[in-house]
Symmetry: C2
Subunit: 335 residues, 2 copies
Amino acid sequence: MDRNLVDTAELADRVRAGDRRALGRAITLVESARDDHRRSADDLLSRLVAHAGDAARIGVSGAPGVGKSTFIEAFGSTIIASGERVAVLAVDPSSTRTGGSILGDKTRMEELARSPDAFIRPSPSGGTLGGVARRTREAILVCEAAGFGVVIVETVGVGQSETAVADMVDTFMLLIAPGGGDELQGIKRGIVELADIVVVNKADGSLESVASAIAADYASALNLLRAAAPNWRPRVVVCSALEKRGVADVWETVLKHREALRVSGRLRARRAEQAQGWMWQEVSDSLLATLRQMPGVAGRLSALEADVAAGRTTPGAAGREILDIFRKGHLNRQD
Amino acid sequence: MDRNLVDTAELADRVRAGDRRALGRAITLVESARDDHRRSADDLLSRLVAHAGDAARIGVSGAPGVGKSTFIEAFGSTIIASGERVAVLAVDPSSTRTGGSILGDKTRMEELARSPDAFIRPSPSGGTLGGVARRTREAILVCEAAGFGVVIVETVGVGQSETAVADMVDTFMLLIAPGGGDELQGIKRGIVELADIVVVNKADGSLESVASAIAADYASALNLLRAAAPNWRPRVVVCSALEKRGVADVWETVLKHREALRVSGRLRARRAEQAQGWMWQEVSDSLLATLRQMPGVAGRLSALEADVAAGRTTPGAAGREILDIFRKGHLNRQD
């Protein structure tokens, strides 16, 4: 990226005109941790926000081995065939450590990546889940302003990132696959209950009957859970992304879910709640980051954390000591 | 409570000696929102914390109508018969509005309340879930220092309080009952997956076979979820608290769960994580409370929340404006 001041007005215009290079540059700007980039990103987003919000935001979660890339490739192509443009983003806080474990390799989705109606972006690398999540939320807005009608946010099904992704999309899908058992698939507790749609993938050839049996198990399990929306019960759909069977059913189910959300007024309400939650998350993360960066505080924090963990002091007393440190740190700043 | 300074050294001694009046007074102190009480409570807790931590901390959640009081009465009596003393606390943030919807009426558990080995305390009233949760966590420490070997934390199964309670106990139990269907029972999404043990209550007389069928449904649903601990899969137990059948099985299952947690090292690790989480929660809640109380800030916050909800501004930009307000508020304080 240019080291000089970004012309955000021009960049915003080019993003809105659908210029792919501008889109990539805008997302890079949003992802940057540099202070001057951050200010430019804020300015850019303020220009784009009025043109964002129109996409179907879809989360796709699933443990390694369930065929997520193959599914997203087939799913994305199906959506494009129906006339929509699709952006695929990813949330994977582990990508710093592993050097990009998901979507790091764009060639993974070769067919989709070649389509002029698709835009594929790997997970922003570096930083905490909170940081990665914020940058992805802002990237969603940029893609929407660029006219993408569908934004897919992909995540691995093994960490805390599922909750973060479920909190930034309209429809959250969990991908599972026959074989291996769910424990081996590593579905974290709580993830199944986040799902609006469970997709049993890899119903390939002779595996179809196994997949159907698993689908029935999930359908009865989901029936024991309370509906997330007044007029939507989580559905289970069987497909074979490899053989391109059932993928259109998944897209149709997403559309039905959106319609249910829209009719009940939940779509608008959910978006509003999400946006307010992000705002407070931003405030809370920032205050804690300020605290952690105060000189001499890191050592004291570790000691307090150890004392609290060992039961030598109460969480309340330790918390109040941290607040005192924070207040004094702020005082000293004015000296 | 006495308006004068509390002699916390004496109060701590009397709590540790098992003086019930002192125990009640200590919890009232911990629950108080008054600044001088808060300081006394901190002092008291610092004297008690080294003697706390030995109880089995058990959460009991269940929607209205599942027979929670009857169950806790029978369960508590079973535990006392096994030689332990039992404290029952409650988390119900709605008790302010409803005038104490759970445990407000001590006569609800008449038999248990009469036992010298039981201590029953209604939910602290007033304030947010965060406030109620903090006071309950501190009340757990007080009960433990007073020598209670089992602390039961009760909550209604309809709100966010379940997560808060699951985060303060070792074993989280979900009570359900045959009849009415789960949707009517109002089990919130995510609660089933928090459960270490699901108790199907009201297997009374002719309902026993229905209860067993429901238990089988839950058992297979729970099998689809990943285990919370390496050596524990959530179990389902059927009982009739009314007819006092199966309640001892529930207690035995709790003991098995504790043993599994202990053997895997999860008990110690879980307690340490919980304590650190509470500490940071305290810090975060306090900073946000400080912000909200700054003069002139409330109106601006409402406006920003509305703008963010309507998509007129991004959560990030609004969050940063709030942080600016916070920093300026701190600056002005030093003038």
